[in-house]
Structures are given as structure tokens and as C-alpha cells.
């Protein structure tokens, strides 16, 4: 459980910053940090077991049928990465607290950061590759939010989009590759896959899977030719760059290659693809980095270069090289995160990151300078710092690797190291050395410890690992490398390999060459500026923009904001698809015995056909159209009753009444007539489309009714179990409240939401000045002098208790006879609506004790309680129980929990109907009409104050 909790904690923590920001920025950062700290502590508790060689596992079955289980495992590699993610995450949270400006929404930043952190931890702890893929996509999404955090900067938005397009596209390839991998092995569990090296490498699908997985890894880790997104992602705030783009996210690709190293590495394909991509990336990016003036751009390309270095080492496919890769991952995370943070400090203090405008900061910012110096020397590979140790080991591996010729790899690796020395020195030399200037955009000073604390700690690590590698890092490298290679690894890291070691001479050449390059920088720079080179962003935009334009043309062509055309296309498409499907399928003969025509149904049919056919001809007068609709709707009720569906008949008749009332009310705010707008030809075409659809549906209904069901209906079960299982004899009601109670639960919630949407929309309308202005101009025509006739008022008052009694009766008998909560709710609603109609909204509303919203809320609550109540008896949600009770002097009666559920349905329906109609009535209050405050206009008991 604990591993799943480590992965879940950042996600849970993501909820907190938004709340805590109200308590201030310190509280917000402290809470966010403590969540990360808690996860780190939980991880540390697992560490002893992992260090002793165990693999900690947590298995939670989620969708076992799909092979999707929430399985987590923690081995050395996972421990290393999870430690980096949470540890550096903690430092970043501290740093960001002091880095972000007052105007930046900090709660949002921390929420995004925690989402990202959770996704990263999820990747490195997942045992199931499908789960890993989900977390992988989550890192792409959360990094999109983080890169684009400064929404007002166009570079931020473009960089975020580019990062998402590249890493998201790679993610799609990765999904395909992982599914193939899972298909080869027959399991989606990493621990199983990792033991199937022979099976995987012998499979015909090995190469496609390899290429697809590598596409995912290369895009994420910014390997050539997908490296271009990373420098553009530097538009993000510096804490994001330090966290995502140096220490963690870009290492997800490396993690994936390391994770799958045991089963994918060791083949010629792996060697050629991975080591070549890594080598090219390393040399090329190091060269570009040298010529970047923006501190963060320099660091971005340097990161790309170092990622290439690690990729190359993994590509060699030897255990020694993989071990060096692991060591360099640790070292790079320490010095590069520190460098990014110092770049952020310089930007924060001097208001520029441009090396051409900096220099001389050594005197002004001694603390920042010390940190930057240590970290850059480590990046350059100067002894005795940690960067030196891993670079020596890398050069040694490269020197002994045959790539095209025996010496090419060693030479190119030395060249990469040379550039690396040059840009590292340039970072310090052009930024901090030199004379103090008097034209900084802002006079820089060392910031408070809040900003330099985190990079200082990392710089300390750089020194400690550099001086005492065997004590401080070797144990971690051992377990992580053992996990990568699948063999027990014991490294020996020393500073001196002897004069005969090739790396010594390669290092010396690199340092010497690097210094020379820096010395000749102005001339090299002139040469660089004179050489034409492809601009990645232009190429990217050149590919994306035509694609986007095509999509836009396609969308605009398909969808021109004309509902009529969309409906026509949809109807014809459905009709065509149905005809095509039917012509190709088989079906039974239509030999089901037909019912004889009954005169009742024939009479209903005749009236319905006349009313329906009249509608298209007379719909322009909207009141007439409404009457015709009401006629058809009401005729359906007896049809239901005739064909053995009394429950439906009751529901239909009551819903119809409510619907017509609603539409009448709505017509108050709409034109009363529909103008003639379409030409006869157009109407004829519409009629043809409608005719095709009607004929198709009618014919389909006829075909269905004249055939036996293709499968036995499942309702035999419901009929047989209605009485013994659910304790009711009305099978329709027992299905609604018991067998399919969960559906009904969802439906009443939907109904409640619909009513709340109506309320919210009417509120919004009432707030809009143009709407209220327009409403005020509505002066309805008074057709007679008596708006609230006394007869109607008195009659509805008498009817109210009777109607309510009928409602209660219908509710109570529903379980056994036609009726139930739905119908009872509608009957109550109609009884109340009659009061509204008789005496007006204001008078009635003033006498109403409960808000309609409250009714909806109680309805859903009672229905949930009826469902949750089953848990008390250790039964699943919404399991109902019933008991027969003998209570003198009553007859034996039944008490069922389903009745409580039905009460919830009743309240929800009542609340929803009343809220919907009341919302419309509220609009009417803003019209020019005066409002009545009395029950009826002419009150005979009050002869003096006769109204109007």
C-alpha cells in the first residue's frame, strides 16, 4: 500500500495549494513542501529494504480483465529516480516560494508542480506498463501547464504547445510500442516483461516495438532530431526549468531506456540507434550551447548534450557503460539544477539573463558566484568534482567502443567534452568574471538564503560526491545499476586511473581545447554567426501550420454553424448507414402473430395522425403548434395504457401536462409566430429528408414488432424475482427502484442538474443589463381583466390537499401497483403549479417554505442514504431489503428500503420540475407587468379595497 501512497500523495497534495494560498504564500509553500517531504519520508522508509537488494511491491487489482492493474514496485532504479524527483522537488518548492513574483498566482503554480511530481513518481514506481503510460501522458500534460504558466508571454504559450506536440506525439508512439511489447510477452507487468529477454529479442515485432519505444524516449529526453523543443520550453519560470528540464522530466526518457535496458539492449539495432542518437545529440548540442547568450538557453542546450551523453552510454549496451550512465544521472541532476537556479537568481537580481549584458557579478554576488563556479566546474569535468568522475568514466567507455572505426567514438566524445568545457567556462567567465559594469538593467545583489539555499545545498552535494564518491554515492549507483543491468554491480569510483588510462589524455585534450576555444571565442562566434543553419522552430512551424490550416478548413467546411445543415447531414448519414447495415445483415422472417386492430387504437391513431400532420402546416402560429403537440403527447398516454403499460401512461400524462405548461410559460419570452423564411423548394427538400427518416424508422419498428426477439429477453429474471427478490408485484417499479436502482439514481441526479442548470442560466440572464432592458419592454397584452379569477383560485385551493393525497397514494402503492415516486412527484408538482397559475408567482412563492433546490438536494441525499444503508448490513450499494409488518389494527403491510429510495426519487422530481418552472417565472418579474400581492384580483370578502 505504501508505494501506491507515495505515488498518490503528490496528487492529493495538488489539492492543497489552491486552498492554502488564502492563508498566505508562506503557508502555501509550507503545506506543499510538507506533502513532498512526507512522500520522501515514506520512500526513505522503504530504502533499507531496497538497498539490501529486495524489490518492494504493491499490487492493487484495478481492471484485471484488461491486464490493467495498479501495481507498483520499487527497486534500485526506482529508488534513485523517486529520490531525485521528491528531493529536488522539495528544493524547488522552497526556491519557487522566493522566486515567484507577488503577481504570479502561486497556488496554481504549486498545484501544477504537484501534479507533475505525482505523474513522475508514478512513472518510476509503476510495475504495470499501461499504468506507466498513463503517468507518462500526465507528465506531458502537466509540463504543458507549467511551461505555459506565464500565460501572458507568447513564447511561453508557443513553447508549451511545441513541447506538448513533440512529447505528446512521442507518447503516442510509446503507447503503440509498449502494447506491442506487452503483446509479445503476454503480460503488461514490467516485472514479468523484464524476465523475457530472449522471447522479446527473438520476436519479429522486436524492431517495431524498439523503434516506437525509442521514439517515445527520445522525444521526452530531447534527443536529436527531437531536441528542439527543450530550449523553447525555457520560457517557463526558472523553477520549472530546473525541475522539469534538467532534473526530472527530460530524464523520464532515460529512465525508460534504463528500465527496459535488460530486455531491449544488447542487440546491434539498439547499439546503432541509441548510441548514434546519443553521440550526435551530445556533440551537436554542446556546440550550439557555446554560442548561446541567454543563460537559460546555454543551460538548455547543455542539458540536451548531457542527456545525449547518458543516452549514448545506455546505447553501448555494456554493463560498465550502463553503470556510468546511472552515476552521471545523479551528478547531472545535482550540478545542472544548481546552475539553473543560479541563472534564475541572476535573472531575478539583474533583470537580464543575457551574457552580453552581464559580467563582473563575482564582486556583487559572491555567494551566487561560488555556487555557479562549483557547479560549472563540475559540468566542465574539472577534478575533483563529481562531474569529473563520471566524465572520466564516460570517456574511458567511449575510447573502448568501436563505432564505424575503432577511434571515431573516442574522438567525437572528446570533441563533445571539449565544447562542454568551453561553454561551462564561458558561463562563469562571461557572467561573473571581468570588470564590474555600470549598465545592468537592475543593480544585482546576493538574494536572501531562501533563493540561494537550494542551489547551495546542491553545490555542496557536487563537492561531497566529488571528494568522497565511494561513501556518498557508490551505494546508490550500485543498487540502481544492479536494477538496470539485472546483475549485482559493485562500482569502484576513483579520481586517478593511472597514466595508461585513455580518459586521462582525452580529458586533458578536452580541457586544453576548451580553454583555447574560449580564448578564440570572438573569432569562433563570428564564424558561427556567418554559417547558415536550420532553425528548428521554423521547420516545426512549417510542418504544424499547414496541418492546422487543413484541419481548420476541414472543420469549417463540415461545420458552418448551421444547425439545419448539421441535422440534415446527420439524418441522411444515419439513414444511409442503417440501410447499408441492413442490406448486408441477416434477419428472421417476419412471422410473428399480429394483434387484430382494435377500434380504440384506430380512433387514437386517426386523431394522432391528423394532429401530427397538421403541425407542419399550422406551426407558424406557435400557440396552435403547442396545442397540436399537446394533443399528440396526451394521445400517447392511452396508447401506453392499452398496450399493458399503465405506469408509462401515468407518467406520460403528467409529464405532458408539465411540459405544455413550461412551453406556454416560455412562449411568453419568445415571438408568438414563426415567420416564413424558407422557399417552398427548401421546405420540400426538408420534407423529403424527414420522410426518409420517418419511413426508415417506421419500417424498422414494423420489422421489429413482426419478429421474435433474437435473444431471450432478460426480463424473465425481473418478472420471476420481482416478488421474492424485491418484495413488490409491480415489475416496472421494482426494476426502477431495485434491480436497476443505480441507473435511476443517476437519472434523478441528471434531472436535478438539469433543473439547476436552468436556474443558473436564468440567474445569468437576469444579471445581463441588455436582457433586463429587453425584458422591461415586454408589455404583455391583457386579453381580459381578471388575471387571477376567483373561481380558479378557490377550486385549486380545494384541490391541493386532494391532489396531494392522490400523490401520496400513488407513491405508496407504487411498489405493487402502477405508480411510484416519479409519478407521485409529478402529481405533487402539478398540484403546486396550479397554485402558481391561479394566484401568480409572487403570491405563491411567498407562501412556500422550502426552496426547490433543497428538495432536489434532499432527494438525492435520501436516495443515497437508502443506497448506503445497505453497507451497514455488509451488502453492496443500493441492495434493498423488505419486511412484512403486522401492526394492529392495520392489515399486514410491507416495509421496504426501496420505498426510501423512491421517496428520494419523488423529492428530486418534485424539486426539479418546480425549480425549472419557477426559474422561468422569475424572468417574468422583470417584465413591465405589475405584480399581484393578493390571492385574487376581485376579493368579495374585502369590498372596500377591490383591486382594479
Amino acid at each position: 500500500m505504501s508505494l501506491a501512497l507515495i505515488a498518490a500523495l503528490p496528487f492529493l497534495g495538488a489539492l492543497l495549494p489552491g486552498l492554502m494560498i488564502r492563508a498566505g504564500r508562506d503557508a502555501c509553500a509550507a503545506v506543499t513542501g510538507s506533502v513532498t517531504l512526507l512522500a520522501l519520508v515514506l520512500l526513505a522508509l522503504q530504502a533499507p529494504a531496497v538497498l539490501s537488494g529486495e524489490v518492494v511491491q504493491t499490487r492493487i487489482e484495478w481492471l484485471p480483465a484488461l491486464g490493467l492493474n495498479a501495481n507498483f514496485f520499487l527497486d534500485g532504479l526506482g529508488l534513485l529516480f523517486a529520490g531525485l524527483i521528491l528531493g529536488i522537488g522539495l528544493l524547488i518548492i522552497l526556491y519557487a516560494r522566493f522566486y515567484l513574483a507577488k503577481s504570479d498566482p502561486m497556488g496554481q503554480f504549486y498545484t501544477y508542480l504537484m501534479l507533475f511530481q505525482g505523474a513522475m513518481v508514478g512513472i518510476v514506481l509503476s510495475d504495470n506498463i499501461l499504468l506507466l503510460l498513463i503517468f507518462w501522458e500526465l507528465t506531458s500534460l502537466s509540463s504543458f501547464l507549467l511551461i505555459g504558466y506565464w500565460k501572458h508571454l507568447p513564447e511561453g504559450r508557443q513553447g508549451a504547445r511545441m513541447a506538448l506536440a513533440v512529447t505528446g506525439g512521442g507518447g503516442l508512439c510509446l503507447i503503440a510500442g509498449m502494447l506491442i511489447l506487452g503483446g509479445i510477452v503476454g503480460s503488461y507487468d514490467l516485472t514479468v516483461i523484464l524476465e523475457q529477454k530472449e522471447v522479446i529479442q527473438a520476436s519479429d515485432w522486436y524492431l517495431p516495438a524498439l523503434i516506437l519505444i525509442l521514439l517515445g524516449a527520445f522525444t521526452k529526453s530531447a534527443q536529436f532530431p527531437f531536441h528542439f523543443w527543450l530550449p523553447h520550453a525555457m520560457a517557463a519560470p526558472t523553477p520549472v526549468s530546473a525541475y522539469l528540464h534538467s532534473a526530472t522530466m527530460v530524464k523520464a526518457g532515460l529512465f525508460l531506456m534504463a528500465r527496459l535496458w535488460p530486455v531491449l539492449a544488447g542487440t546491434p539495432e539498439w547499439f546503432w540507434i541509441v548510441s548514434t542518437a546519443g553521440l550526435v545529440t551530445m556533440v551537436m548540442a554542446a556546440k550550439i550551447a557555446l554560442f548561446k547568450d541567454d543563460l537559460k538557453a546555454l543551460l538548455a542546450f547543455s542539458t540536451v548534450s548531457h542527456l545525449g551523453l547518458i543516452t549514448m552510454l545506455l546505447g553501448f549496451g555494456t554493463k560498465a557503460a550502463a553503470t556510468v550512465a546511472v552515476f552521471h544521472i545523479i551528478n547531472h541532476a545535482t550540478f545542472k539544477a544548481a546552475l539553473f537556479m543560479t541563472a534564475g537568481i541572476v535573472d531575478h537580481e539583474a533583470h537580464t539573463r543575457d551574457l552580453r549584458r552581464l559580467g563582473g557579478l563575482r564582486h556583487l554576488m559572491p555567494i551566487t558566484f561560488t555556487i555557479a563556479l562549483l557547479a560549472s566546474l563540475s559540468m566542465a569535468g574539472i577534478p575533483p568534482l563529481n562531474g569529473f568522475l563520471s566524465k572520466e568514466l564516460m570517456l574511458e567507455e567511449a575510447a573502448h567502443t568501436v563505432w564505424i572505426t575503432p577511434w571515431a567514438m573516442g574522438l567525437l566524445a572528446t570533441l563533445g567534452a571539449l565544447f562542454s568545457v568551453a561553454y561551462s567556462f564561458r558561463f562563469v567567465a562571461h557572467g561573473f568574471f571581468g570588470p564590474k559594469r555600470d549598465d545592468y538593467p537592475h543593480m544585482p545583489h546576493d538574494p536572501g538564503p531562501g533563493l540561494w539555499g537550494a542551489p547551495a545545498l546542491l553545490a555542496g552535494l557536487v563537492v561531497v560526491i566529488g571528494l568522497f564518491p565511494m561513501v556518498s554515492a557508490a551505494w546508490l549507483v550500485d543498487v540502481a545499476a544492479s536494477a538496470v543491468t539485472g546483475d549485482a554491480v559493485t562500482v569502484k569510483i576513483t579520481h586517478w586511473h593511472g597514466l595508461e588510462a585513455a580518459a586521462l589524455w582525452m580529458s586533458l585534450a578536452a580541457i586544453g581545447g576548451g580553454l583555447m576555444a574560449l580564448g578564440a571565442y570572438p573569432r569562433l562566434r563570428a564564424l558561427w554567426d556567418a554559417t547558415p543553419r536550420p532553425e528548428a522552430k521554423l521547420i516545426f512551424d512549417g510542418i504544424i501550420e499547414p496541418l492546422a490550416a487543413t484541419c481548420r478548413r476541414l472543420t469549417d467546411g463540415l461545420h458552418n454553424a448551421s444547425l439545419s445543415r448539421a441535422v440534415t447531414v446527420a439524418v441522411l448519414a444515419i439513414a444511409g448507414a442503417a440501410a447499408w447495415a441492413f442490406s448486408g445483415g441477416t434477419h428472421l422472417a417476419g412471422d410473428r402473430a399480429l394483434l387484430p386492430i382494435s377500434p380504440t387504437v384506430l380512433a387514437l391513431w386517426v386523431v394522432m395522425v391528423i394532429a401530427a400532420l397538421a403541425l407542419p402546416f399550422y406551426h407558424r402560429d406557435r400557440v396552435v403548434a403547442l396545442v397540436l403537440t399537446g394533443v399528440v403527447g396526451l394521445l400517447i398516454a392511452p396508447l401506453f395504457a392499452f398496450f399493458s403499460a399503465p405506469d408509462l401512461a401515468l407518467t406520460q400524462i403528467s409529464v405532458e401536462v408539465v411540459t405544455i405548461l413550461l412551453m406556454l410559460l416560455a412562449l411568453h419570452f419568445l415571438p408568438k409566430a414563426t415567420p416564413v423564411e424558407s422557399a417552398p423548394a427548401r421546405r420540400f427538400g426538408d420534407a423529403a429528408v424527414a420522410g426518409v427518416a420517418g419511413a426508415g424508422i417506421g419500417w424498422l419498428a414494423y420489422a421489429m414488432m413482426t419478429r421474435q426477439p433474437a435473444f431471450e429477453p432478460i426480463s424473465h429474471f425481473h418478472l420471476a424475482q420481482s416478488k421474492p427478490g424485491a418484495g413488490g408485484t409491480n415489475a416496472v417499479n421494482t426494476i426502477i427502484v431495485d434491480f436497476r436502482g443505480y441507473d435511476t439514481f443517476g437519472e434523478i441526479i441528471v434531472l436535478g442538474i438539469a433543473a439547476l442548470v436552468i436556474y443558473a442560466l436564468s440567474e445569468t440572464l437576469l444579471r445581463s443589463p441588455s436582457v433586463t432592458r429587453r425584458l422591461a419592454t415586454f408589455v404583455p397584452v391583457r386579453e381580459d381583466g381578471d388575471r387571477h379569477p376567483m373561481m380558479l383560485v378557490v377550486a385549486t385551493r380545494f384541490l391541493l390537499p386532494m391532489a396531494m393525497m392522490v400523490g401520496v397514494y400513488i407513491y405508496l402503492r407504487g411498489h405493487n401497483l402502477p405508480g411510484g415516486g416519479f409519478v407521485a412527484g409529478l402529481v405533487f408538482a402539478i398540484a403546486y403549479l396550479m397554485q402558481y397559475m391561479a394566484s401568480g408567482y409572487v403570491w405563491s412563492h411567498a407562501r412556500q417554505r422550502y426552496d426547490h433546490h433543497v428538495l432536489i438536494g434532499w432527494g438525492v441525499l435520501i436516495a443515497s442514504l437508502a443506497g448506503v444503508g445497505a453497507w451497514a448490513f455488509e451488502l453492496p450499494f443500493l441492495t434493498s431489503g423488505f419486511e412484512y409488518v403486522n401492526l394492529w389494527p392495520l392489515e399486514e403491510f410491507e416495509l421496504a428500503t426501496a420505498a426510501i429510495f423512491d421517496l428520494g426519487v419523488f423529492l428530486c422530481v418534485l424539486g426539479a420540475v418546480l425549480l425549472a418552472l419557477a426559474s422561468l417565472s422569475r424572468l417574468a418579474l422583470r417584465t413591465g407587468e405589475d405584480v399581484n400581492t393578493r390571492a385574487f384580483d376581485i376579493d368579495p370578502s374585502d369590498p372596500v379595497k377591490e383591486a382594479r
Binding site: 403537440t629 419568445l670 415571438p671 426538408d686 424527414a690 438539469a754 416519479f822
Partner: protein, 116 residues
């Protein structure tokens, strides 16, 4: 009898779709109401037509299929909710834009007309 019911379903569908192809909100909503009638009936008759066979246990068999009835019962109530939401949207459109056309056009601006 099946032919009568099937033709009624077909007719309701046709009228519903014809009305949905009109250019103003109110007829479109009426069309949708007709289409709901047709769809509810269609789902209902998928249990096949039976007379005097209400699914109340204890009466003489056979019983009508209760499952389509239960489905349609909730569908009727939900379609009320849907109609009501569409109505408030139509009202809002009319009050905000000054007209109740359903199709957007390029020249769509605030051109008020006679309201009621």
C-alpha cells in the same frame, strides 16, 4: 395493430425531423419533443405489443416485458428536463441576441426585431 403503431412512430419521427429543420428555436424544440415521443414509443415496442398483460405479478400470465417500460419511464422524465434546458437556452438566445434563429450567419450581429 403493429402496422398502426409502426406508422405512428414513423410519422412522429418525420414530423419531428421536419420541425427540427425549421430555422427558429421554438419549432426546433417542438420537433425534438416529437422525436422524443417517437423514440420512447420505439423503445417501448421493442418489448413487442401486448394487450391486457400489465407486468403486475399475480395477474394471469403472460406479462408484458417490464424492462423497456422501466427504461421509457425514466426517459420520459429526463426528456422533460432536456426540453426545459433547451427552452431556457432558447429564451436566453432570444433575449440576448434579439432574435430566435438557430443558424449562425457571418452577418450575425445584434439586430433586434419585434419580440412578442
Amino acid at each position: 395493430m403493429e402496422a398502426l403503431v409502426a406508422s405512428a412512430i414513423g410519422l412522429l419521427t418525420a414530423v419531428g425531423i421536419y420541425m427540427m429543420l425549421r430555422l427558429r428555436t421554438f419549432p426546433v424544440i417542438l420537433g425534438l419533443t416529437f422525436l422524443s415521443y417517437a423514440v420512447n414509443l420505439f423503445i417501448f415496442v421493442s418489448g413487442r405489443l401486448t394487450v391486457n398483460a400489465a407486468p403486475i405479478i399475480g395477474r394471469t400470465e403472460p406479462y408484458a416485458d417490464p424492462l423497456p417500460q422501466a427504461l421509457v419511464l425514466t426517459a420520459i422524465v429526463i426528456s422533460f428536463g432536456m426540453t426545459a434546458v433547451l427552452m431556457i437556452m432558447a429564451i436566453g438566445g432570444n433575449l440576448e441576441a434579439g432574435h430566435d434563429r438557430v443558424n449562425m450567419s457571418d452577418t450575425d450581429d445584434d439586430t433586434p426585431e419585434v419580440q412578442s
